[in-house]
């Protein structure tokens, strides 16, 4: 069981049946297929590799080859109920712009990312003086696609700055069920290896969907 699978399970729990979902960085379409099969979701994908898109087409998914930095701008506002960005935010050139775009084109965004302030990461840096290699950050520095790593504190501050509301947050850990957390608590910034956020605009417009209680999202 990997962190990504854990991600998917949380996203699956959280997305309304029949919703319109854009999966940014959808890979070979595992999540979109899962959402379609389990929730009847009308899914679209954005994927950078031709092989990934080709695999998605074979699954019957509608996927565009492109990337978050360049292609989100062309989707109309509120085209989706949810935009999903799974472990991809640290890899985009302009995380701030991408995050803002996600919440322009979708009513809610589901964003998961590794926490660079996890205690293991801190100890690796402090003790060994090396770039950390952990379960959430498994790739050596010279091979990773992550160019904008951040901590939970960094991310929640960015959300405040962009006037985004964190509707829910859960810590993800390998092999364990998701654990609802308050991402602004300092202790979580030590404990959470990776986290998944449900975001919306702090000032939602009238078209916003039915309100869902926080405990229903990450129970």
């Amino acid at each position: 069981m990997t962190l990504v699978r854990q991600d998917f399970r949380e996203i699956l729990r959280l997305v309304r049946p029949g919703a319109r979902v854009l999966d940014v960085g959808c890979g070979e379409g595992e999540l979109l297929e899962l959402l379609w099969r389990e929730k009847g979701v009308d899914g679209r994908g954005l994927e950078i590799s031709a092989e990934g898109v080709s695999a998605c087409l074979a699954r019957g998914l509608a996927v565009v080859q492109g990337d978050a930095d360049d292609d989100l701008d062309y989707f109309p506002a509120r085209a989706f109920d949810y935009a999903v960005l799974s472990q991809t935010l640290p890899q985009v050139r302009q995380p701030r712009h991408v995050l803002s775009e996600l919440l322009r084109i979708a009513e809610r965004a589901v964003v998961s990312l590794p926490n660079f302030a996890h205690w293991r990461v801190r100890f690796d840096l402090l003790g060994a003086g090396r770039m950390p290699i952990t379960r959430a950050l498994p790739t050596p520095w010279w091979a990773t696609g992550n160019i904008h790593l951040c901590t939970l504190r960094d991310f929640t501050e960015l959300c405040d700055d962009l006037d985004l509301r964190i509707e829910a947050c859960a810590a993800l850990a390998d092999g364990k069920p998701a654990r609802p957390i308050d991402p602004k608590q300092a202790v979580e910034n030590w404990r959470a290896e990776s986290a998944i956020f449900l975001l919306s605009r702090a000032t939602p417009d009238a078209s916003a969907g039915p309100k869902v209680a926080k405990q229903d999202l990450f129970s």
């Binding site: 031709a50 080709s54 074979a58 565009v64 080859q65």
Partner: protein
């Protein structure tokens, strides 16, 4: 099919020329009309009982209706024999495939070499200028005549892809899915420029005779061959040319003259010479003109997304090739962004290939598997067996 035949050779289930009565003319964008329109077409596979499995294949500039069967002039396999056939992405065991020669063409559909009903002589330059929308309108007339109301898919590469986009703009209600390969929503200055070189080569040939060569017993073969040679370069990538020919010589040593010393010269001369056997010079002028005039969004004030608005229920799949510099990926991306903006269900793949624009006609396994996946899943959504 006998054992002696290549597996990709399938027999057309129909090859015919349909003639429309003078009372049903093809009305053209220019305001002119063609009376007694004839359309030559081939079909492969069978139309199912509820007529829901028809696929229209739109051909490129110099292709024709012989998409999957042996060409009657060249004796070569159909230009898309590797895509159309039993078990292929366009499976003739499942789908009814129609391919028609475009209006303005020279393989049986009315074009500049057809007799003008007013004079009985070939039209020549009296043939009206046709457009991509005119070609599509003629195809719609053919489908009406065949009793095919809706298409499961419309598909084409290059100029065929332009027709696909035009179908989506003009007849979205008749489409379930649309596949546009190596095309653009409008011709660029560079596209027009290359076509103009070809046209000037034809018109500079003394045997062109202001387009009246057909009834003067001559043909502007040299001009048409040069046009083809110039165009052929644009269909290939520099890498493909280099890999295929490099600076290899035809014979040992240079000729110190202007014979075809280099293999690439000999290859182009052969391409030019072979082309004039199967293509009409005036058709080349008319069809390149149609492509140059193509600007899909012009009718909607240049707004491509608005053009696709009515087609948002159509499943789109757009392909481009990394080394295609004639219709580069940026053009396909524009189409896809407009489709996304229109809220259409669009997929897009850029296929890694060094074969240039011509890659869409060649064996490209990634494209074929992606195409097969798209078509099969669309068939499932359409409820086709």
């Amino acid at each position: 099919m006998s054992d002696g035949e290549a597996a990709s050779e399938i027999v057309a289930t129909g090859t015919d020329v349909i003639r429309f009565p003078a009372t049903t003319p093809l009305r053209l964008d220019s305001g002119a009309e063609i009376r007694g329109l004839e359309i030559a077409y081939s079909t492969y596979g069978r139309l199912n009982a509820d007529k829901s499995n028809a696929i229209l294949v739109c051909h490129a500039l110099t292709m024709d209706q012989h998409a999957a069967s042996t060409h009657p002039v060249t004796g070569k396999p159909g230009w898309w024999a590797q895509v159309i056939g039993p078990g292929q992405p366009l499976d003739t065991d499942r789908y009814f495939i129609i391919c028609a020669n475009v209006v303005g063409g020279c393989q049986g559909t009315t074009g500049p070499s057809s007799p003008d009903p007013a004079t009985g002589q070939p039209y020549g330059l009296k043939f009206p200028v046709v457009t991509i929308p005119d070609m599509v309108r003629a195809q719609a007339m053919l489908l009406d005549a065949l009793g095919v109301e809706t298409l499961f898919a419309v598909i084409g590469g290059s100029m065929g892809g332009m027709q696909v986009l035009q179908w989506a703009a003009d007849y979205p209600e008749r489409l379930f899915s649309a596949i546009c390969i190596a095309a653009a929503a409008r011709h660029s200055a560079q596209n027009i420029a290359f076509h103009e070189v070809g046209r000037q080569a034809i018109m500079a040939d003394p045997d062109w005779r202001a387009g009246e060569y057909a009834w003067q017993g001559v043909r502007p073969e040299k001009g048409l061959a040069v046009a083809r040679m110039a165009a052929h370069i644009t269909y290939l990538s520099e890498a493909a040319l280099q890999r295929k020919f490099g600076r290899e010589l035809q014979r040992d040593g240079l000729s110190w003259g202007f014979d075809a010393d280099f293999q690439v010269e000999s290859y182009l001369r052969y391409q030019g010479a072979a082309f004039v056997d199967r293509f009409d010079a005036n058709s080349y002028l008319y069809i390149t003109r149609a492509m140059d005039y193509f600007d899909l969004a012009a009718a909607r004030g240049g707004n491509l997304a608005e053009t696709f608005r009515a087609a948002r229920d159509v499943r789109f799949c757009v392909f481009s090739f990394t080394s295609d510099w004639l219709y580069p990926t940026s053009e396909s991306r524009q189409i896809v962004r407009a489709l996304n903006a229109a809220g259409a269900r669009a997929s897009f793949v850029e296929i890694e290939s060094d074969k240039g624009h011509d890659a869409f006609l060649l064996d490209e396994p990634v494209m074929h598997s992606a195409l097969a996946g798209f078509v099969a899943s669309a068939a499932q959504a359409r409820g086709l067996e």
